[in-house]
């Protein structure tokens, strides 16, 4: 081989920050080919995808509306990924958070207390956390692989939601549609900027970014998460409990996803529907990696992935492109990112070594 991959003595700090950029450039290049194949002008398509969705105050606020659940879920997942705990069931935890959180309104619709919404948000976190506690228990007690258990529970959570909105939670005045009654003002997230849908959940997401940043950098549990993830045996010698970390990261991730769920149903959706997320919990996996598992990185990655949702909708209306392009695009970002990550720990060199002839 002409090119040789060689391990770097120390990982490249510059590449940690550069690879997401390289990955995005490669994704754009690949999507130019994709747009050509779909028979649209690539420049026009790129414009509709990345620029057009940002040209008004309303559109800009929509970016935050879409980014909110992505950032919340990704923050939660990233802490787990750092500890090598692969919770991929954020979509289910989001759904369960939405269910448990909104149960308060569903059963006490007359309540006008100012404490209703905060209580709903708390319950959302509890619901998501409880759903993530199942894989945590199975992993710590029975060594069951959390990837598979957390994913299976996504399907179960979505079926529980369907069961509720098709049955006991159906709005009696709703002409038999599978929808709950619409949330009262006291059960609805306050709007941050009038004339937009930007809601209180966005503040919660920002809070999560800051809080997690501090937690990882300054607290003992944050340190334990990082040590257990990077060197489990060193963590063991230091007396850190692996089980405790598994429990912590799963409960934390579940709670974050649960908050994302309740802020969707009591925010932009405003009622409980059979489908409450276009796959935010899965896209959040991409957001977490693209943001380098760092809270601040995740914030920007969340905005970028939110842009692909908006761009997908814009391109569908203006160019007739299928919405599925968004999914392909998101998948490509992660692919290229993982491919480029080789540059962090390795470097390419021309293979100049000659065989020794004796």
């Amino acid at each position: 081989m002409l090119l040789k991959i060689e391990k770097r003595a120390e990982y490249s700090k510059a590449m940690v920050y550069l690879t997401p950029v390289i990955a995005l450039v490669l994704t754009v290049l690949a999507s130019i080919i994709l747009f050509k194949l779909l028979g649209v002008n690539p420049i026009e398509a790129l414009y509709q995808f990345f620029v057009a969705p940002l040209d008004s105050k309303y559109e800009l606020s929509e970016l935050f509306v879409k980014a909110t659940p992505l950032i919340l879920c990704a923050i939660g997942l990233s802490v787990g990924f750092r500890a090598n705990v692969w919770n991929i069931g954020a979509e289910g935890q989001l759904t369960m958070g939405a269910i448990v959180g909104s149960s308060l309104f569903i059963y006490f619709p007359e309540t006008e207390s100012v404490f209703l919404l905060p209580a709903m948000i708390m319950l959302g976190a509890v619901g998501g956390g409880a759903w993530a506690a199942i894989p945590a228990y199975f992993k710590t007690r029975f060594n069951a692989n959390e990837i598979l258990t957390s994913l299976m529970l996504v399907y179960v959570a979505i079926l529980v939601l369907s069961l509720l909105v098709h049955g006991p939670w159906r709005d009696p005045a709703g002409f038999n549609f599978p929808e709950s009654q619409t949330f009262s003002p006291s059960a609805t997230m306050p709007i941050l900027v009038s004339g937009t849908r930007m809601h209180f959940g966005t503040l919660l997401a920002l809070l999560a970014v800051l809080g997690t940043w501090i937690m990882l950098a300054r607290t003992l549990i944050g340190f334990q998460v990082k040590v257990i993830g990077a060197a489990p045996r060193a963590g063991g010698y230091a007396g850190f409990s692996q089980k405790k970390v598994v429990w912590f990261v799963l409960l934390f991730g579940g709670a974050m996803a649960g908050i994302a769920g309740i802020s969707e149903v009591s925010g932009p959706i405003g009622q409980v529907l059979p489908t409450i997320s276009p796959g935010y919990g899965f896209t959040a996996i991409i957001v977490a990696f693209l943001g380098r598992l760092h809270p601040v990185g995740i914030f920007f990655a969340g905005l970028l992935m939110a842009l692909t949702y908006l761009g997908g909708e814009t391109a569908q209306i203006s160019l007739g492109l299928p919405v599925a392009v968004t999914g392909v695009f998101q998948g490509m970002v992660l692919f290229f990112l993982l491919a480029c990550d080789v540059l962090v720990h390795y470097r390419f060199r021309l293979n100049t070594a000659r065989k020794v002839v004796s």
Binding site: F142, L148, M152, Y155, P322, A324, G327, V328, G331, L334
Partner: protein
């Protein structure tokens, strides 16, 4: 016949529900035996399902359709190979990426084909034999892919434990450094194993879109790729048990359908949860005994191979 007329149709539906899992499970088994964990089964199945469906609709040739599905799955797996084998990316993250990418790509490819009907895969019909009561339709009335799934399970079993190539594959999965030091191309062998897994997942997906429910719908695999991954743990990496497990899960899926048809007073959603809950339950049960898992799992699974100098 007396009150047992229902048995044959039930067994027939169990077979159709189990076959996609047999294909995906047997394929992923080879991948994992070579020391690679590919979590992208769901994505490869979806791309296989849509490729097979499109080929069948456009050409009407089912042989080509299955071949296209296998090729599509193998190409997806090849992408996974480039990332994890050549560029040494994390296998868990790349597998997730492959699934996410496959979900999007299959939706994009199939957007003009949603809801279109296609004739189901033809079933074997041997005059006389296929009409035998009870065993006739089960043994002699299946479509070609059902027979192929059993052939593949037997071939894989024979390959792994009775051939030298199979021994080398297992050696690569158990100790890549040792295999490398005696001159085997670890990366090359793993590429082949990964692509075989992809091709089989593709065929498993095509079975869904061409035989199980002859149509294309977004995300129609509904988690079967993940169930196939769980099956391998359940089977402790043994091909025979993968087939047994696939039929158990097929049985649970069908139990659920028949319970709904029989008017059992349980909400349909609760019954639909059964396969997923059963997967979790089985995983917990099997994982409890870690020494058994450790004894059978390929020692190098998920580990990155980078030959020193």
């Amino acid at each position: 016949m007396s009150g047992f007329d229902w048995i044959t149709p039930v067994i027939l539906t169990v077979i159709t529900a189990a076959t996609p899992l047999v294909f995906a499970g047997i394929g992923e088994l080879i991948t994992e035996k070579s020391g690679v964990l590919n979590l992208g089964v769901e994505g490869m199945m979806l791309v296989g399902a849509v490729s097979g469906f499109i080929t069948a609709t456009v050409t009407g040739n089912y042989f080509l359709a299955v071949a296209a599905a296998a090729l599509a799955g193998a190409i997806m797996a090849f992408l996974f190979g480039i990332l994890t084998l050549s560029l040494m990316a994390n296998q868990v993250a790349t597998g997730l990426a492959l699934t996410l990418f496959g979900v999007g790509l299959s939706a994009l490819m199939g957007q003009n084909f949603v809801g279109q009907p296609v004739a189901a895969l033809a079933k074997l019909d041997i005059p006389g034999l296929s009409d035998l009561p009870f065993i006739g339709p089960i043994l002699f009335g299946q479509d070609g892919l059902v027979y192929l799934s059993f052939v593949m399970a037997i071939v894989v079993s024979w390959f792994l434990y009775k051939t030298k190539a199979g021994l080398i594959l297992r050696a690569v999965g158990d100790s890549h450094d040792a295999a490398h030091s005696i001159g085997y191309s670890v990366i090359g062998i793993r590429y082949l194993a990964v692509m075989f897994g992809g091709a089989m997942s593709g065929i498993g997906g095509a079975y869904l879109s061409l035989a199980y429910t002859p149509m294309w719908a977004e995300n129609m695999t509904a988690g079967r790729g993940w169930i196939a991954l769980a099956l391998i743990v359940f089977a402790t990496w043994k091909p025979g048990l993968v087939v047994v497990g696939a039929y158990m899960f097929g049985g649970i899926t069908i139990l659920q359908l028949h319970a709904q048809a029989a008017g059992l007073n349980v909400p349909s959603q609760v019954l639909s949860m059964l396969p997923y809950l059963a997967t979790v339950f089985v995983l917990v049960l099997i994982s409890k005994d870690q020494s058994r898992i450790r004894k059978h799992a390929p020692a190098c699974i998920g580990k990155i191979f980078h030959p020193a100098a």
